[in-house]
């Protein structure tokens, strides 16, 4: 199938704004009379607040308000479960929790005042490790968690501090292990990792004289944010306008209200617009990083090397609050992939999300998938070796097939994992003889079900003949707006400059926003459908204007043409006669997909690396990433998603760790919390295994969360291949490799 606009490697529609500095992010919002808010955070991981003395701070120059929990309504908030106070109420549960907030004429003055607030704490026993928190003697962080609004009753647990326990099952796990000849048990751990977006969270609130609340916020789900904000500031949703700004990347981390409720309270108290921008230190101390996770796998394999049973226990450290988890079961969805890309008849997966006195955890691109894939794909290599099987053949033998079920997913069709894996292997040096000592190859395979949810749009034929596409989804950087433009232009046979994508949240009641790689799938479908309906309206209005019947007109060359006469109308002309005379033609559409298609997408990666045995340092020599893709709507953006995700996967595998000691994050700026830079990138080969059969418009598939997932495991497997040392914990730092090698060679003499 060939298209006009689909498949074009187009630059971003917001490109000129972004390269000239005109694009406005929340922190760029400047309002007359605007003042600044800064928060005082808890230095203790778990303590009662005995008293807070703000008197001195209030007297300081430029200080306009100092608020503590006593000044706010006694309400909790969260992306789903409401378990987190806006300012700590009587008790702090992590180092970095907000205790008081100051508004001042400038940020320096606000900082001046913070040091003068005196808080007296009474320390309480704290627990930092999720497994420790699950023990009977552990201090309880939220004794009343069952009473929180939207707490997921179906997933309550009697285990201390477990706020959600979700089980996924296929077949009968006991039967599965009974069939197995060999049973393997492995445990893996991954650390907290910050999303690393370069824009720290920012919020601005301005209250109009009539009480209307204007909000700017780095949040990818503005409609949902409005709903959440309405609850926690007790203002009806209709009185709140969330203005959409550019978002300096999300990667799952920008779905909460963060400081917006505080901005509101300060604005209300002072009568001035209030801005709060977190410092990056605050981001690292009190953002919502990827969950530290431990994964226990129990695998049953037959004599022939067939996997027949997989039991998994995945423990997610939620940190002090579950407030940053958006899904209804308030747990991490990626746990359901604990059987990997392998057809396994008997599966039982238990995911526990556990409170502990650390920074609250949140979503980060492919939430849970990376952690679990690292475990699953490492264990595949370990089992193969133990059974004396080739690790590639062992995988091939067990791959998912059409008709297989995946936990928490559908019965699969169009399974293309074998092709994807073969493509990755073929593009790599897998089948070449091992070149040098201390070099190794590793592979890993993952899959990801496409995200579901609700999407909305409004399409309008404007009087100048252009189409305005309104979406409540902000551009978080993934290129969503460009893709929506392409889909509408393609559907309406228009040139790109005739389609303008604009954002607005006011006119939509609900919306899932950006996330879970759903924008192209759900958001694409809704604009495609709306465009189809708009075309019908255009043709009808055109026919009316041309004085003929609807079935006598066609849309050709951007005009409504009466096929029998020469008569035609431009879109601008149609617009003027459309609808009820003056107003433009308009379609407003909503689409809510609760079930995904019976299709998933696969990624296979091969990593080649070299280990310096004297230092443990790892150098990536080559990375091949192969993707099972449908029609690619925008190759430039598609490849960008692959490359960006891959480097985040490399960070997860080799570099990144939000280090904590007794709940205190010790990597508190980007000088210590290292993100990969331009000199750290590995040589990369991308292979696209294309077939036009995706579920998204024009048979596209999702890509946003694909390349990040298998990299950690592929690296771990390559390290093992290179030097014979198996790592159960990420990241695999030079230091860990060095000591493991010392031990290793010590053992062998």
């Amino acid at each position: 199938m060939s298209y006009g606009k689909i498949g074009q490697p187009l630059g971003r529609i917001e490109g000129p704004a972004k390269v000239t500095g005109e694009a406005k992010y929340t922190a760029d919002v400047l309002l007359p009379g605007m003042i600044w808010g800064k928060v005082l955070r808890s230095p203790l991981p778990h303590a009662k607040i005995v008293s807070i003395d703000t008197q001195e701070a209030e007297q300081m120059p430029g200080i306009l308000a100092v608020l503590t929990a006593k000044d706010l309504p006694d309400l909790l908030t969260g992306r789903l479960v409401y378990d987190m106070p806006v300012l700590a109420i009587d008790r702090v549960r992590f180092i970095g929790e907000k205790v008081a907030v100051v508004a001042a004429e400038d940020p320096d003055m606000a900082e001046d005042a913070l040091a003068s607030i005196d808080v007296e704490y009474e320390e309480m026993p704290a627990v930092f490790d999720a497994h420790e928190a699950m023990k009977s003697e552990a201090p309880l962080l939220h004794p009343d968690y069952r009473s929180y609004a939207h707490a997921p009753q179906k997933f309550f647990s009697d285990i201390p501090n477990v706020h959600s326990h979700v089980t996924w099952k296929l077949g009968d796990i006991d039967k599965g292990f009974a069939l197995a000849k060999r049973v393997f048990e492995h445990t893996f751990n991954t650390p907290a990792v910050h999303q690393g977006y370069i824009e720290p969270h920012a919020s601005v609130v301005a209250i109009d004289p009539d009480g209307r609340v204007n909000v700017w916020i780095s949040n990818k789900m503005p409609v949902r944010a409005r709903e959440l904000l309405a609850d926690v500031i007790e203002i009806p949703e209709e009185r709140i306008v969330v203005h959409l700004a550019q978002i300096g990347a999300d990667f799952g981390g920008k779905g909460s209200l963060m400081d917006a409720p505080l901005c509101y309270h300060l604005a209300k108290r002072t009568g001035r617009p209030v801005k709060m921008v977190m410092t990056y230190t605050e981001e690292l101390m009190a953002g919502n990083p990827r969950h530290p996770t431990s994964i226990f796998l129990r695998t049953g394999v037959t004599e022939e090397g067939q996997i027949v049973a997989r039991q998994a226990k995945v423990v997610f450290n939620s940190g002090a609050y579950a407030a940053f988890k958006p899904v209804p079961f308030v747990n991490i969805p990626g746990a359901k992939d604990a059987a990997g890309v392998y057809g396994t008849p008997h599966i039982r997966i238990d995911a526990y999300s556990v409170y502990a006195n650390c920074v609250p955890s949140g979503h980060f691109r492919a939430p849970g998938d990376l952690q679990v894939n690292f475990a699953v794909e490492s264990s595949m290599d370990m089992i193969a070796e133990d059974l004396g099987l080739d690790r590639l053949e062992f995988r091939k033998q067990n791959l998912l097939k059409d008709g297989d079920w995946v936990p928490g997913g559908p019965q699969l069709e169009e399974v293309r994992v074998a092709e994807t894996l073969a493509a990755a292997v073929k593009a790599s040096s897998w089948n070449q003889p091992k070149s040098q000592p201390n070099r190794g190859l590793g592979l890993a395979v993952s899959h990801r079900l496409i995200g579901t949810g609700e999407a909305n749009t409004q399409l309008t034929l404007e009087e100048d003949g252009t189409i305005q596409v309104l979406t409540p989804v902000p551009e978080v950087g993934t290129g969503a707006h460009t893709i929506l433009q392409q889909i509408v232009a393609e559907t309406l046979f228009l040139s790109l400059d005739q389609v303008r994508v604009e954002t607005a949240s006011e006119i939509f009641k609900t919306d899932s926003g950006s996330g879970a790689s759903r924008v192209t799938y759900v958001g694409g479908q809704v604009v495609q459908q709306a465009a189809g309906e708009l075309m019908k309206l255009i043709l009808a209005a055109g026919a009316k204007g041309l004085g003929c019947a609807e079935n006598e007109v066609v849309f050709e060359g951007g005009r409504v043409v009466h096929s029998e006469s020469d008569g035609s109308l431009s879109l601008a002309e149609v617009a003027k006669m459309g609808g009820d005379g003056k107003s433009a033609l308009r379609v407003k559409k909503s689409l809510n997909l609760s079930e995904g298609p019976p299709m998933t997408t696969f990624t296979a990666q091969v990593v080649e690396l070299e280990v310096d045995p004297e230092t443990g340092q790892i150098r990536l020599l080559d990375v091949v990433t192969a993707h099972d893709v449908g029609t690619i709507i925008n190759p430039l953006g598609h490849q960008g998603q692959i490359e960006g995700g891959l480097l985040q996967g490399v960070g997860f595998g080799l570099i990144e760790e939000l280090r904590m000691e007794d709940g205190q994050v010790s990597t508190l700026n980007l000088g210590d919390y290292k993100l990969p830079n331009i000199r750290d990138i590995p040589p990369l080969t991308t292979v696209l295994v294309e077939e036009e059969l995706g579920p998204a418009p024009f048979h596209g598939k999702a890509i946003g969360e694909s390349s990040i997932t298998p990299t950690g495991a592929a690296i771990a497997n390559a390290v093992y291949d290179a030097v014979g040392v198996r790592f159960h914990d990420l990241p695999i730092t030079a230091e860990k490799v060095y000591w493991a090698l010392q031990q290793h060679s010590g053992g062998e003499g």
Partner: protein, 153 residues
């Protein structure tokens, strides 16, 4: 952060004990203590200064003796102090144990568990650890020196 220091002092345990339960001696042996005043039987208020390069910390707070177990030669004291200018503080528990090695020889074991809080804890934690370790070492050295100096009776 946890620290331990051990040293041997050429003095009997009773002599060392009597020296250590006098907070004036303790404060003198601890570098950086600027003042220490008795509030009640077991509580002292004081000021303690430490420098890390250009960063000058001045902690003001209390020291409370919480354990004084003469039979087991064990003292435990809690320190809570704040630096208001910088915004941060320390919370620490210091344990001193004496082990009789002979009538004229005592092993001094010092154990410290400390938390550096707020701004001070956020930055330079590793250097603070080193400094604290050095401080404890110096404390043990000073105690030993004073006890064995001819001036101390």
């Amino acid at each position: 952060m946890k620290f331990e220091q051990t040293c041997t002092i050429a003095a009997g345990p009773l002599k060392v004990w009597n020296f250590l339960i006098d907070m004036e001696n303790v404060s003198r042996c601890l570098p950086g203590v600027e003042s220490m005043t008795l509030v009640d039987e077991d509580t002292y208020e004081g000021i303690f200064k430490i420098r890390v390069g250009p960063i000058a910390l001045k902690f003001k707070g209390t020291l409370r003796v919480e354990e004084r177990d003469r039979d087991n030669w064990h003292v435990g004291m809690r320190v809570e102090a704040k630096d208001r200018r910088l915004g941060g503080g320390v919370r620490a528990y210091l344990e001193v144990d004496l082990v009789e090695k002979g009538s004229d020889e005592t092993q001094l074991n010092v154990k410290l568990e400390s938390h550096v809080l707020g701004k001070i804890g956020e930055f330079g934690q590793p250097v603070m650890r080193k400094k604290t370790d050095a401080l404890l070492q110096e404390f043990a050295r000073q105690v030993s020196q004073e006890l064995t100096s001819p001036d101390y009776a």
